[in-house]
Symmetry: C2
Amino acid sequence: MIENSDRVLQISSSWDAYHTECPTRLVLNRIADKWAVLVLGLLETETKRFSILQREIGGISQKMLTQTLRGLERDGLIARTIFPTVPPKVEYTITPLGKTLVGLLAAVRVWSETHIEEVLKAQSDYDKAAQETLNSEAPGVRTVRF
Amino acid sequence: MIENSDRVLQISSSWDAYHTECPTRLVLNRIADKWAVLVLGLLETETKRFSILQREIGGISQKMLTQTLRGLERDGLIARTIFPTVPPKVEYTITPLGKTLVGLLAAVRVWSETHIEEVLKAQSDYDKAAQETLNSEAPGVRTVRF
DNA sequence: AGTTCCTACTTACTAATAGTGACTATTGGC
DNA sequence: GCCAATAGTCACTATTAGTAAGTAGGAACT
């Protein structure tokens, strides 16, 4: 039933992301959102407006940016301040809670930048191998070790 | 055009996740996959079989597990070994490259566990406030600061 | 001899989510 | 009076996630 010691620790602290209903999985769903990661990265150092964020994040639509910002606000990771001017002005700022998470995410971005070549090479190797087995062997059998 | 100093650094290192076509964004798409994060977490310490992984990750389907494992294999983060026995046996092991990433992801899981209460509280506060503005004010105006 | 079971998948289908493009309110400037 | 600018919303389509059922092939049971 209980497999190994690290899992026991997680269970005894009452949170376990490996259990479907555990609320810690919502944090996973948060970072498992590329737009949220990018937004938090931009707000790490300074407060920014909606239009600036959209300009700096390549390929995000207004709808997705709005949706992402609302989600981050709801989770208490960023704060939203609207100035009722015309045209409207809305500023987004990272909260203290958000700051504690964004450091980790920055580390992931650094990892991407330092290991991307290895990942790209692995991908092309994999694709080439898949191509070869397609041409020679029966499909499905790829690697055998004894 | 160039906004602030950290961005300049990223551009000069030739990788920038904020640009749509940058390959580093595929790493983001990798960690922006809750299943992948959970799988990597389980493989951090030991090699595991397909059925074990499925049992330990609450709520994952066979299809999604297969898909996730294939993606991680293609990116060079895990290795797949099939034993052509009957019934079949397939083992998944983390690679050295995968190990360097999984440490960061473990940090994120720890963050979840230590900050989940704050996030849940922020959410209920947000939902309550949204409910109140719905009852009293005109919708859209929530916070004003000068 | 036939049926069932086992594992690690596919495949076909449905539900949910991401993304796209057009539309809105407001008002200062031309 | 008309256009530009900002931060959205709404209706629609495309993509992706999830579900349920099927497949292989030999071992063990009946």
